[in-house]
Symmetry: C2
Subunit: 111 residues, 2 copies
């Protein structure tokens, strides 16, 4: 599902990662973190894909919401687990979304 | 490969998409567009993953670079092809990258 984010401005956190071969417990952890993120104040949506490289983009109302999520206790534990067990490399980019354009085939042909 | 982007600020274009089942010519087009993007002025890097949902994030020096890439003739044709042939839905988000954090296992254990 593409995230139904509001009219900009809002924030995006782009998490790009290269995993190692340790998969045990990874999918469960990733799913748990997505569900936990959804319950945070200021959460706007999430999009995730993996094919070799993994990209998860979470969307947030503002920087304090991102800061709170970053410091969430369960999330901190997952971040540590990511470093000790799962990731070879990752980059986190915190971004201000300035503009958004959408295409939807069904609404394109409705009009 | 994770993109070796410079110290922020710089720009990111997050392209999130849901494809239809038409695959003929898609991989070739996507690869051609990545190679073409690499040759544009202001291009900083690209990251791409697909598993159901597709996410491609391209990184750029500034907004004029993004504007030029958006209007590039071959890219305009590919965008039209995407709309008529390949995508059910997509969202393009233009973002200012304000902060970046990296983890690299090998450098983590070197230090």
């Amino acid at each position: 599902m593409l995230a139904l984010t509001p009219t900009p401005p809002y924030y995006a956190v782009i998490f790009s990662s290269l995993k190692n071969s340790a998969d045990e417990g990874y999918a469960e952890m990733a799913e748990k973190m997505e569900k936990l993120a959804e319950r945070q104040a200021g959460y706007l949506g999430i999009e995730s894909a993996r094919s070799g490289l993994g990209i998860t983009v979470s969307y947030w109302k503002d920087l304090p919401s991102i800061q709170r999520w970053r410091e969430n206790t369960e999330h901190v534990l997952a971040q540590q687990m990511g470093i000790t067990k799962f990731y070879e490399q990752y980059v986190v980019r915190v971004c201000l979304v300035e503009r958004e354009y959408r295409f939807n085939r069904s609404s394109a042909y409705d009009k």
